[in-house]
Symmetry: C2
Subunit: 458 residues, 2 copies
């Protein structure tokens, strides 16, 4: 009934595509996050304009239909999983660059723009869009904003929020609003732009994004330092900081990650050490900074090589792919905690203890510059009791990160999967405030329900 | 009656200081912003602890008393002006550094901490707190956060918001909450930290602040380039950008500002040119960047000198003081618009046109790297009709900035003085959303009423 009405919407919005074919519903039922309860949407709807989005939201408000917005579906927290009776609002056909202004150093894009495509366009002007989630080749700017995505270059260039100047947002009732401004600075009114950034589609549908662009670095240097053990490599992170070098990229890979990369890509990383600290410096000071980094890490006992451009690019790309593909006969969950930098070594020691205690496999990579760790735990699917031990290890890894002053999610978002951990990090008063903020924007609760913040406890 | 009750509070909070002496009320009635209607507070209250603040807020909620928080009172938008029947909650005695952790690169401070004092303490660890409003010697971190203060180093290091990791906030009803996290990255829940930052005390009282520290640059180079006219100097801003150099500081001073500085400080700047572009590069690339800047600006016709360290520091300090002291026989209003960088030249040409048209005096300085301009308009106090012409020029300067894609306030805040301009920048729906957000945090409207966002229009 209401679906017929949805199809009827295409009479008003002739470029609105509404699909209800079973294979489409299945393909868009989930993102790349763990699936707690598989649910298919009523329909998948592709708008091609802001007016289309307004049309859909007005219909959804009138019919009380839940709307789950989706970019490329590369999220790993289930933020774009379908929920009961929802439609998926897929924004990947709204993918135009509306403007790049090299003098103002801003770009205006539609939400379905692919991160890498924006960067390619910006590069023609000597500029870049700095936030670079590992999914940058396929993920959308809209999804990046919705999750406040991080990436490798965050320690120097900031996260997505730090590059977003202004947003156009369609509210639950179809109202189009604009937040922020085109200028780099501005303090008129409350910072609604930051409020929408990272709100995972629960406050409004982002339909236009103005971002600040940065200068493409004139020079990049990559240093690979292999260490005999993880603690020494992690000490390197602090040593580089103590030398006052702010790398663009500072990635820490443990031995198990090196082994996994070797197996997947035929590299020989594991033979070179038990932990890899991969550092890029960039800009006019790249060479001088690289000299300091090499010196500092050599003193610590690292085997330091300056990689050539091609090899360096290959190592960084290997790192971007280090999450690995799903393996059919394994249960595998990647985590995303962040801890204060000084806690990196202690935290990884705790992870290793948990892996032994719960008999699960573990590999760890970290955006070490900002203390953001991606441990992956896994067991064989056939392992009896494996899932329970995996869950126990996950729960403990979260609890321990919090005791060290960390957070349950550095950059992937709470989505659906991490919702049950959020009350461990944030007290009831803060959760209640967020529920009331959501109610301001989405009083009927149709926008991505059951994501990002806990629903009403009453 | 209610004031007696307030005095009685000191029995519960023995370190709470409550002053009602006339000279105290007068001294704390206003900040440095223009005074539209002079009002004195009922009392000035100094808490020395979080518990004190909670005590006062519970009392204020119970009695419906308006609370105007205040740091050092250096704001220039009237955000800390007393309003009818209010108390001033002065946080300058809560001024301790609670922690500096050099490995984590964070500091935790009370709101009354002076910006420069935090920097002095951080420097001992080779670190700095980057946001540097011109008032940094006297303004407080709490006030900086409340206004999302900018400064000279923003183009490279970001504004206050970009350095704030976590906040402790006392809500209107006395509830203490914590937002954010100690880690550089984190996306758990909505970004309440950014929502409080820049909210000018209208959503809660900030009682604890965790900030990210940055590395003290290993090297700083200062370049002073004098130009025969303002448009050429402004073209230099874009030329430096096109050369992919991100200066730490990029300040543009017009001829009238140079004259004013010479008169106040006995310098000879005006003799060297009609506009000054003052640039600092910093970090490992400072020297290489300075070379590029010199070359680019020389080609444009600038008279470029690399200043020695002492002279450079003097020029930057002169710039910080370029707002100038109040002059008794003048009506003088400093503005704070921001425009896209490419509009700098056109905007200043418009300002000069307005100054002629309305027969007002004008000088302009700009944080040119981020398009943030501080024009100062003034007339002689004895000038018949001067105030009306001044107001007309101000109104038009705001309107024109908005037509160029700018904002009414880049870094000073809306406060009380700019409130009437806000509806020109933000549409009714956005203003209404903000009113409803405020109602979530402060349902009775006791927190700094009549500031930052317009009250209920009904």
């Amino acid at each position: 009934m209401s679906l017929d009405a949805l199809h009827d919407l295409t009479l008003t919005g002739p470029n609105l595509l509404v699909e209800t074919a079973p294979e489409v519903l299945a393909a868009y039922a989930t993102d790349q996050g763990p699936v707690l309860a598989y649910i298919e949407p009523l329909a998948v709807v592709w708008p091609t304009s802001v007016a289309d989005v307004q049309l859909v939201l007005r219909w959804a408000s009138a019919t009380g239909t839940a709307v789950v917005p989706r970019g490329a579906g590369t999220g790993v927290s289930g933020g774009a999983h379908a929920t009961g009776g929802c439609i998926i609002l897929c924004l990947d056909r709204m993918n135009r660059i509306l403007e790049i202004n090299a003098q103002d150093e801003v770009a205006v894009v539609e939400p379905g723009m692919i991160n890498a495509d924006l960067n390619a366009a910006a590069a023609a002007h000597g500029l870049m869009y700095a936030p670079d989630p590992a999914s940058y080749l396929t993920s959308t700017i809209g999804g990046n904003v919705a999750t406040n995505a991080g990436g490798l270059r965050c320690a120097k260039y900031g996260v997505t929020r730090d590059s977003v100047l202004a947003l156009d947002v369609v509210l639950a009732d179809g109202t189009l609003i604009s937040t922020g401004r085109r200028t780099f600075k501005g303090v008129a009114g409350y910072d609604l732009t930051s409020l929408f950034t990272g709100s995972e589609g629960t406050l409004g549908i982002i339909v236009g994004i103005t971002v600040r662009l940065r200068y493409l670095p004139v020079e990049i240097r990559t240093i690979a330092a292999f260490f005999p053990d993880f603690p020494t490599a992690a000490a390197g992170v602090l040593a580089v900081g103590a030398a006052r070098v702010q790398p663009a990229i500072m990635e820490l890979l443990d031995g198990a990650t090196l082994t996994a990369l070797d197996e997947a890509h035929g590299s020989d990383l594991r033979a070179r050490g038990d932990a890899l600290l991969l550092i890029q410096t960039d800009g006019f000071g790249a060479g001088a900074e690289a000299d300091v980094v090499r010196s500092v890490l050599s003193e610590l006992g690292g085997t330091v090589s300056t990689e050539g451009a091609a090899e360096a690019e290959r190592l960084v790309e290997l790192r971007r792919h280090s999450r690995g593909d799903a393996v059919p006969d394994q249960l595998r969950v990647g985590e995303d905690v962040a801890v204060p930098r000084s806690a990196l070594v202690r935290y990884v020691a705790e992870l290793e203890r948990m892996a032994r205690q719960y008999r699960v496999n573990l590999k760890v990579v970290a955006h070490a510059g900002d203390g953001n760790l991606h441990p992956t735990f896994w067991v064989q699917a056939a392992d009896n009791g494996g899932r329970e031990r995996l869950d126990a290890a996950l729960d403990e890894s979260i609890a321990v990160a919090l005791t060290m002053g960390g957070t349950i999610t550095g950059e992937h978002g709470v989505g659906q999967f991490k919702l049950h951990w959020l009350p461990q990090e944030q007290r009831a008063e803060v959760l209640e405030l967020q529920r009331r903020v959501k109610a301001v924007f989405d009083p009927a609760g149709i926008l991505n329900p059951g994501k990002a913040i806990p629903g009403d406890p009453h």
